[in-house]
Symmetry: C2
């Protein structure tokens, strides 16, 4: 298909997505070279970044397309973006012998990207997402993750039961505002791998989740209703990383 | 001045700002009633929210303006927003007998709002901001803070020296990627109030900050370059809240 027709503004139904900008595209090439369909470069990209990308693409056998200014201007979301990596979407499986983050119906793309970045930094690189949920391949998620999305395992599940039955040997820790145990004092007495489970931005987990494992809360005062979702996940990952 | 001329799309030079939506406006009225100039209501607002706002405004002696659909449609940032609170900007002083967060040149409005909300929840309600910096009264900050911005003390300083000389009795903890002490094991051996100091999103604190106090790092692996600023501040506030 002609470049011009294939590369439209991103939507979820496409079989490809985009990394916007030089840094995200370099992260993409370094982490997932086999998934890069090509790299689009705008005439306005400065020559040092052009050279860097050309070298990297050459050594990874990735095609660079130039004379595609119009395509880039249609696809990008910011005028300052002069490089677009075209990424063939892929499917992954979660690892059984690893700790997991489980996000039930996350809806905010910025939150999702920040969660991926933070959890990767604290050593959790397996992420289960229960649908309906934000699209992990959306360019906004890729940007917010600062390239971390290309370094994690993730998988969508249509319901929590399916996830739970697949990882029946994990210890489940649902995070709930009225959880039973304070994150700070929670002890890991079980050597099995764990799953830290979080509800969505506005409604959290429904009460039934308190039956699937030891429910945990993050103590804060009553001047706020709740923590931001990404913040709650990040603090939990930070704290569990130290508990191990 | 006529309503139509006074209420334009927000910009930093205005002496007023806006809360968008019913919840943010209720938070505003409850926290800072004397700063509410008026509340604008669109015809499309459902009647239960209309009734709730009218009662709240009446008991706080705040004027409600109706028949202002065109004004609201010009000022709001989302079509779903049918209520706008008009807020007279105000100046505050930081408290001497309180712990502080110090943000050096924060630029992202979403981050700033999330930081305010999280720190308030973990008991730090005094925020110093070193300019140049994002505008704390911007509607995007107000939204991301979920109303927390109306409950904190904040003040802008033109340079860190001025802040430091004003709060010379605080213990200063600059957070740096190459900090000297791990946040997890840092001990509060000094009973004085503290200031947790953070650099901006892209550059962090310059090396000179390591001389002003005990520099701290948040341990993460090398699969990411750094934590998101709001995440770093939130984890620090969470951890210090427990160290007290």
């Amino acid at each position: 298909m002609a470049t011009d027709k294939r590369y439209k503004k991103y939507n979820r139904k496409m079989s490809h997505s985009y990394s916007y900008g030089t840094f995200a595209t370099i992260d993409l090439i370094k982490s997932k070279p086999a998934q890069v369909e090509c790299v689009l470069i705008h005439d306005k990209l400065d020559s040092s970044n052009q050279d860097r990308l050309k070298e990297l693409c050459k050594s990874n056998n990735i095609e660079i397309k130039t004379n595609v200014n119009k395509v880039i201007e249609r696809v990008r979301d910011k005028e300052s973006c002069n490089v677009i990596g075209v990424l063939k979407k892929y499917d992954l499986e979660l690892e059984h012998v690893s700790n997991h983050i489980v996000l039930v119906n996350p809806s905010d793309m910025g939150n999702l990207g920040t969660i991926i970045r933070t959890c990767l930094g604290f050593g959790i690189s397996n992420i289960a997402i229960i649908t309906p949920a934000a699209d992990i391949f959306h360019p906004k998620v890729i940007r917010a993750s600062m390239g971390a999305v290309f370094q994690v395992q993730f998988k969508y599940y249509s319901d929590f039961e399916t996830y739970k039955n697949t990882f029946i040997n994990h210890v489940f820790y649902p995070f709930m505002l009225d959880g039973g145990i304070d994150l700070k004092t929670a002890k890991l007495e079980d050597a099995r791998n764990y799953s830290l489970i979080f509800g969505n931005e506005s409604s959290g987990l429904d009460p039934s989740y308190s039956n699937i494992g030891t429910s945990i809360f993050i103590r804060h005062n009553h001047r706020i209703d709740s923590l931001n979702l990404a913040m709650a996940v990040g603090i939990a990952a930070y704290e569990f990383n130290h508990k191990q």
